[in-house]
Symmetry: C2
Subunit: 492 residues, 2 copies
């Protein structure tokens, strides 16, 4: 039905464009091919698809009206925030309307006394902190892309970040949402107090990757800035020892704000690129531990963490409590992905989770996979959460290399799931990993999620072909026909 | 259909009993009227309904088989843990099978390294802590009934407790669930790592009040015992000042483990009953603040909290770090409900949430309602969360008193919702408050929740008539006919 609508003459677009323009204004509809180029992909640049057209609404009501037009005309649509997602969640589908929130960047309400702020979805993650920092507050979830990614995208992907070990991921910070469902209905989920009766639909929506609707207003919890922050850098002669130190810190009852490990390949890539001189090139692993809280608490924990690191074989330990040195120690970690891009023509970031206690074992197996496939893998990860980010280095100009890398990435995900972990820690499933969902979920699980999706998105028009595996692997579903017609879903 | 099944001859029970006995054994089916008396109500003792029969399974498979029998024969069923719930969630419906988890009290797995424990649902809340306390761990959510309530019931009601201000309610501590849906399907929700892709069905299930199925295995997060704990007791010449102190503490960035306020009526009821001598009878309010963490951190925060209390007009401040004195200071708070029972023939506990900043304003309005209706109201509440527990005192032997009290309770809930709060902080909706759900949710909200329910419970046989308003107020729904036949739903 979708294809038949659009594959006939272009004339059929005309009434749709007219209707959409009447909602968002002439300047709110993008339809020239050259302009649509920008929207062909998100951060998962390996897949591209031009949308049918782009709309740029400004309000909840405009989004509701635009979605209603799609619903009434059986047009698939995809939501896009800043387009920084790494799993293709905002990748257009053929002949879709792409709803972009770039003009929805208002702060709607600030309620410091109750520690919350309500924003439109297009606002950049880091702006939330900037808005409230004068009053001593900040917004905790901090994806690496925080200076460019949008809150709406964070909600869709349930984004994480370095500080999510202590503070939790996006879902732990969303108190309430105004959403538009795939039928164009406006709903308020959650509210201004944390506990609400009935089913936790806020929790269902956060991380639903655009398959249930669009969040048009987001009420976030904001936190008071801690009195004191300190970073500890420890280097280890083996990855296993750094992993043991992580387990030791957690066992001691300390919950650091973040704990990150980089392996030797990453350390050297970073030193080659950013040349900080603070990561020892001969270390097999460096561990970064950030502690925050009262000054007395940070001081006491700093001592304990250093002791635990030493007991687990750490060679040198550097600590920094002043902002400048702290930033320097973190800079290498933050530049890790970019550094990989400097030492290899191309790289592929995987995102998987394992139980923290299996770090050493799983990393050994990843090394074996690296040898078997013949591709170097740099490891940099949120060690406290067991959230791995193996960077597979390859050269896309070599025929077959990308297919190899995809297979290798899939093997790593299998490893994660078999160890009791998960397919994704923070990047989402999107168009990239939906074929792996059956590793984690059986037919009943996927069918039940499908029913939940149908509760918000009965025609399957919202972000079709994403998150769930194609019908071939997940059984017959209400919108099987539509999904099968979506080109991108067929890639996997 | 339900009624026609059972209202004909008793013979029709016979094949069901045979089938259930073949699943749970002869000693696993309770059917004698005298024995069924025990199961006529839960903690909401004002409503009673004898179940058709009771089954006592021991395993997930037995529960699945029992539910399948109900499903195949269109028999409604209700799950019951320890029966301590305060909203009638485990209240039987007419001619139902009551599935009781009292024989499911095994600890299935303890994984200290990953801070988790997997238990059967019938295990008592406090046993979880007892099981892991030798290794220095505890389970954080601590409802007042923790020495008798079950983990399965806690999951169903998303139970809270005194320490949920800092540590969150049950949903923040459930990592994974094995459940049996209302169709008798076994599903694994969540897992052993916190972040899982796809919709957060674990979050939907926790707090679903038995309307989606039964949790048969629960994987809980356990925490390390803090190094130090301290309680601060401050008394105030007005409720407003104690509320301002709570706001002041939170604004300062300190997150106490718990913050509780009791008003003068409660203080005197407690002193009359438990006679601790530590709550000043002439105070309008006492505030209890519990701090935990490193010893240095607790010491620093203790000083700050005392300063904030003094700045807000506190008269005396007592602190206790030793276990015995701490327990004594808490004893009055824990005995508050029982004390109300001593000073009044009957009392009705309400449970509502308001934004923390509106404490003084809402309590003033509750006082006005108390005067208008002519019933005394004692206030004791989780002040940090804004979770009120007004205790309405009345005499059930006076005709019309209970109806008055219900109306008064409803007015208090309206106040909570109008202030931006919620109908329930921790006791659930159950059979007690479902008629108030339209205060908080519109038709679209309730319809969408209804669709989600149908994803797990398509025939509406699991705990019918609970959580959602009756069809008269929530529109026509798939199982409207069944719900309308359930006697208890008609009470409201």
């Amino acid at each position: 039905m979708l294809r038949s609508f659009f594959s006939s003459t272009q004339d059929k677009w005309q009434p749709i464009i007219k209707q959409l323009e009447s909602v968002v204004g002439k300047d709110g509809v993008v339809r020239r091919k050259e302009e649509l180029l920008t929207y062909e992909c998100d951060g998962l640049a390996s897949y591209r698809q031009r949308p049918g057209l782009v709309v740029l609404p400004r309000t909840t009501e405009e989004i509701a009206a635009a979605i209603k037009i799609c619903h009434d005309n059986d047009i698939p649509w995809v939501a896009r925030g800043a387009g920084t997602g790494l799993s293709g969640g905002a990748l257009p589908v053929e002949d879709c309307v792409l709803i972009v929130t770039a003009r929805m960047r208002q702060v709607l309400d600030i309620d410091l006394a109750n520690h919350r702020i309500t924003v439109q979805p297009g606002i950049i993650n880091n702006w939330v902190t900037q808005t409230v920092s004068g009053a001593g507050f900040y917004y905790a979830p901090d994806p690496s892309s925080q200076i460019i990614c949008s809150i709406g995208g964070n909600v869709a992907e349930n984004s994480g970040g370095v500080h999510c070990l202590k503070y939790g991921v996006t879902t732990n910070h969303v108190l309430g949402l105004k959403i538009v469902t795939a039928e164009g209905k406006i709903m308020d989920l959650g509210g201004k107090v944390p506990e609400m009766p009935g089913y936790d639909l806020t929790g269902v929506f956060v991380g639903s990757e655009g398959t249930l609707g669009i969040a048009t207003e987001v009420t976030l919890r904001i936190l008071k800035r801690p009195e004191s922050v300190c970073v500890i850098l420890a280097d280890f002669p083996s990855i296993a020892q750094s992993g043991a130190a992580v387990a030791g810190v957690i066992s001691s009852g300390i919950i650091p704000a973040g704990m990150e490990i980089m392996d030797r390949l990453t350390i050297n890539a970073v030193e080659d690129t950013v040349a900080l001189g603070c990561y020892p090139r001969d270390a097999e692993a460096v561990l970064l531990v950030e502690l925050d809280g009262l000054a007395v608490e940070v001081a006491a924990n700093k001592k304990k963490v250093a002791e635990i690191c030493r007991a687990n074989g750490a060679r040198d330990i550097t600590t920094a409590s002043d902002e400048a040195t702290r930033m320097k120690l973190w800079k290498g970690r933050k530049a890790a992905f970019a550094a990989a891009g400097h030492i290899s023509p191309d790289y592929f970031v995987q995102d998987g989770v394992i139980p923290r206690t299996k770090l050493a074992e799983v990393l050994k197996e990843i090394n074996q996979l690296s040898d078997r496939f013949g591709y170097k893998i740099a490891n940099v990860f949120h060690a406290g959460d067991g959230n791995l980010h193996p960077l597979i280095m390859y050269d896309n100009s070599v025929e077959g290399a990308f297919a190899d890398v995809e297979e290798l990435g899939g093997e790593i995900l299998k490893l994660c799931v078999e160890s009791g972990g998960s397919l994704s820690g923070e990047h989402g499933i999107g168009a990239d990993k939906n074929c792996y969902m059956p590793y984690m979920y059986n037919a009943t699980d996927l069918e039940t999620m499908g029913y939940v999706r149908d509760s918000f998105n009965p025609k399957g028009l919202a972000n079709p072909g994403k998150l769930f595996p194609t019908p071939r692997t997940c059984g017959e579903r209400a919108n099987a026909q539509k999904m099968a017609k979506v080109k991108d879903a067929e890639l996997f």
